[in-house]
């Protein structure tokens, strides 16, 4: 009995673990799919407002952030390759580069968001949802955004916000993995954790690949 339990504990199925992790990734995909579905329905009913609202977003900033995330995916792939080949130092360097690119993405996103705050787009969005038309919450002289634009910015903040949260989780995980590589518990023979961390990071990249055209290229 005890022997059997031990045998189970020592058995490690790398392919099965990876398959399970892919299943988790699909739950993440469906979380974002729900947002995309809401976006699709409201876009079809408020087409003009969506186009007008999207003009407030800067395509260049969106494109730069896309390229930053794609580059971070490349450094992640190269980091895993380096670790598998035994170049631990190079793997760590590339992993840090990936974290740095993720942070750069967040900083740019932060500037973008704060510009929206300065233009009261966030506040009007919140008021719009809370109070609807002719809101008593509006201060005199303040104008409500049209409903379609309120929906656009509401979805913009929720979707890019949820995505940014995933960037933070991914970058934090990478720093933990970096620490484990330094300690030696993740090494060229045992690199499954770095591999799954990479899969997570690439999925976050895939989601951004779809967010980018839906928000920055529809004006």
């Amino acid at each position: 009995m005890t022997d059997q339990v031990l045998a189970v504990e020592h058995h490690h199925d790398e392919v099965g673990t990876r398959l399970g992790f892919w299943l988790f990734l699909y739950t993440e995909l469906f979380l974002f799919a729900a947002f995309f579905l809401v976006y699709a329905v409201y876009r079809s009913s408020h087409l003009e407002d969506f186009k007008l609202a999207a003009e407030n977003l800067n395509t260049t900033i969106g494109a730069v952030n896309t390229i930053i995330l794609l580059t971070s995916s490349l450094t992640m792939v190269l980091s895993l390759d380096a670790l598998k080949k035994g170049s631990v130092k190079l793997a760590k360097l590339l992993l840090l580069a990936t974290v740095a690119l993720g942070v750069a993405f967040l900083i740019i996103k932060g500037f973008e968001w704060s510009a929206k705050f300065d233009h009261h787009i966030f506040l009007q969005t919140v008021k719009g949802i809370a109070a609807g038309h002719g809101s008593p919450l509006l201060t005199p002289g303040e104008e409500m955004l049209p409903v379609g634009q309120v929906l656009f910015f509401g979805l913009y903040f929720v979707m890019t916000g949820t995505h940014a949260l995933h960037i933070i989780i991914g970058a934090t995980w990478m720093l933990i993995v970096y620490f484990w590589i330094s300690k030696g518990s993740i090494n060229p023979e045992n690199h499954g954790v770095l591999e799954r961390c990479g899969l997570y990071w690439h999925l976050v990249d895939v989601i951004w690949i779809f967010l980018f055209p839906l928000y920055y290229l529809v004006a």
Partner: protein, 97 residues
């Protein structure tokens, strides 16, 4: 046999990365075309799907995974497709009061 453990030369990821950057630049340029809302969105989504495909297949190593991984992706894709099609088959034919 599990071929996953094979190490690759960094050439393939760099070629894939170059393709991703080229697709990003082309989708920005194509969005400037005046072809109408629906066509423009369809083009952007087609390019995004190609980019996502490249990331899934090469960066996420689906090219080295057993068949079951690809089947899972197929099931997830068709489930999503069904959800979108069913939603719009309902929503498009609603008479809004």
């Amino acid at each position: 046999m599990n071929t996953h453990e094979q190490t690759q030369s960094p050439r393939l990821p760099i070629i894939v990365f170059a393709a991703l950057i080229l697709l990003t630049i082309s989708t920005v340029l194509l969005s400037g075309l005046d072809v109408g809302n629906t066509t423009s969105l369809l083009i952007a989504m087609a390019v995004a799907s190609m980019k996502a495909g490249l990331v899934l297949y090469f960066f996420m190593h689906l090219n080295h995974e057993p068949l079951i991984f690809k089947l899972f992706l197929g099931v997830a894709f068709f489930t999503l497709l069904a959800i979108f099609v069913l939603t719009f088959s309902d929503y498009s034919f609603r008479v809004l009061a």
